[in-house]
């Protein structure tokens, strides 16, 4: 478990450092487009994705989900800079960050775009008997579109190996979910589709990791989908998942604080390296503009 703890911390720290740096670059006018943040929600991506492997596919909403699924950090940063070396050759950007080889079907530009696609990746895993699962992360804003609810119903009806992770920050872009989600708990909607629904504290990596482990195991063993609602508050402080994690594992003596400090330094160097490499990388050209619309045409 010690190795897993270090890995979990490294993932969460990488996501935090990546997204904080992206926001700095964005504020400084170095980046364009729309860059959804994940800061404060790292435990969800890491706690779920540490259960996944190459058989599995996810649909994310932010950079952090891709990092947790093993997508190359430097290639992701280059993508945000619109560079040819980006994970999508500069054509996808932040809202279409995807790496099919790593099982990231996309940080979808459409709120609610992921869950239906994940029904498909889960269907493919079931058809091919790979034991793979599909995981759809979606924000509370994606809880409104009908497609998300249709996907829950389909996954249940077809008994798909899928896990739906609703990341409830309390806000969907600019609207408070206390009034816009017409139910007290997103997880309660699961009952309407015959699916188990659970609520976990998004500040607590261990709670997310345990709930996700059960859901992924249920999916892999043919037990069908689960809806996990991960609750966050958007203010840092005592509820910050990284501080919480550090206090717990150093307090218990499982991981020394110096090891975590080393990870912090390594991650900081990685992110600095990624930004420098991205800024130095070439932009796509006229030849790239017309390429890859079709396999053949």
């Amino acid at each position: 478990m010690t190795g897993t703890l270090r890995e979990a911390y490294r993932l969460m720290r990488t996501i935090r450092a990546f997204e904080e740096r992206v926001h700095e670059e964005f504020a400084a006018g170095e980046l364009r487009g729309f860059v959804p943040g994940h800061a404060g929600e790292e435990a969800s991506a890491a706690g779920v994705c540490l259960h996944l492997d190459d058989r599995d596919a996810i649909a994310g909403t932010r950079c952090g989900h891709g990092i947790a699924k093993g997508v190359d950090v430097k290639a992701m940063m280059a993508e945000l800079y619109g560079r040819r070396t980006g994970i999508c050759h500069g054509k996808g950007g932040s809202t279409h960050l995807a790496d099919l080889a790593k099982g990231l079907i996309g940080a979808n530009g459409v709120a609610g775009g992921g869950p239906t696609l994940v029904c498909g990746t889960a269907l493919a895993a079931k058809q091919q008997n790979t034991g793979g699962v599909g995981v759809a992360f979606f924000g509370d804003g994606a809880g409104y579109p009908g497609a998300t609810l249709e996907a829950l119903n389909l996954a249940s009806a077809w008994e798909l190996p899928a896990v739906f992770v609703a990341e409830n920050s309390g806000y969907a872009e600019t609207s408070a979910s206390t009034w816009s989600v017409a139910a007290d708990n997103i997880a309660d909607r699961a009952a309407g589709f015959g699916v188990p629904g659970v609520i976990v504290d998004g500040a607590d990596f261990f709670a997310v990791h345990e709930a996700a482990g059960e859901a992924v195991e249920r999916a892999r063993s043919g037990g069908g989908p689960t809806l996990i609602e991960v609750r966050f508050t958007r203010c840092f402080g005592p509820s910050d998942c990284l501080e919480w994690f550090r206090a717990r594992v150093t307090g218990s003596g499982e991981v020394p604080g110096t090891v975590l400090d080393d990870i912090d330094a390594e991650v900081a160097a990685l992110i600095e390296d990624a930004v420098c490499a991205a800024k130095a990388a070439p932009k796509p050209t006229w030849e790239d503009l017309g390429a890859d619309v079709y396999v053949s045409y």
Binding site: T116, G120, G146, A147, L154, D292
Partner: protein, 312 residues
Amino acid sequence: MRTISYRDAIGEALAQEMARDRSVVVMGEAGGGRGVSEDLFPGRVLDAPAAESAFVGAAIGAATRGQRTVAAPTSGGSCFDQIFSQAAKFRYLLGGTARTPVVIRMTYGHSQCLYPVFTHVPGLKVVVPSTPYEAKGLLAQAIRDDDPVVFCEHTALYDTTGEVPEDSYTIPFGEANVVREGGDVTIVAIGRMVAVAAEAAGELAAGGIEAQVVDPRTTSPLDTRTILESVGITGRLVVVDEAPPRCNLATDISALVAKEAFGSLRAPIEMVTPPHTPVPFSDALEDLYLPDAQKVLNAAKAVVGYRRASSR
């Protein structure tokens, strides 16, 4: 050769492709429709709830993970976001790494004709079969194709019949079929309008006018070469399109010819389309609405009879 219906030709193509390739999975509110069943292909014919965003989205997602999928939404209109925002864009926005071999079977005709809308979207291929023969060969090609294909089936064609080989065959995309040879006027017609144009061409021939009838068969890719070569010979063009007149295939093909074959044109191009209205219910109104052989005949005669006003 035996004669079967458009509906059965589609079912036969589905069954033959499912037998040929185990990765093919079909899904829809009526399972796979005619010709395929759970008994014949266990686990690969999926009955879907009438929630088209979900199962069309699932067909697209599965196609990115090694399946060849065919989705048949009944009404179609509620899954456009999945088609436009997901399937069409995957390959490009993922820097060329995605293959999305999904076929979306979309009915058209009595409710609306939306193939121009799909044709507009980069990343989609659009097939508009005019006969049972075309339907079978083009559907087989669509299923084997590695790009997302919107396969447009006209509801009024399902019970029409025609000669169809029993063995499996494919018709390549982007290759028009010259339905009838003629040197006086080119008539390009889409989908169900091909039969209407052929009927008009028969009547024109009786009056001594030989029309060349071209069925593009796919609107994306579009066989521009065959159309331009034909207009190069005839110098006259009529386009017959069942879609309403703004930004449809008639305007698209007319713009192509006006730009690329301006020097060949001996008369203004005629477009035979419905008016800019929704499809009405009453048969009296629908008769007025739809292009028919008489309207095509009138347009062809106008084009052939055109004389440039003297400039002096």
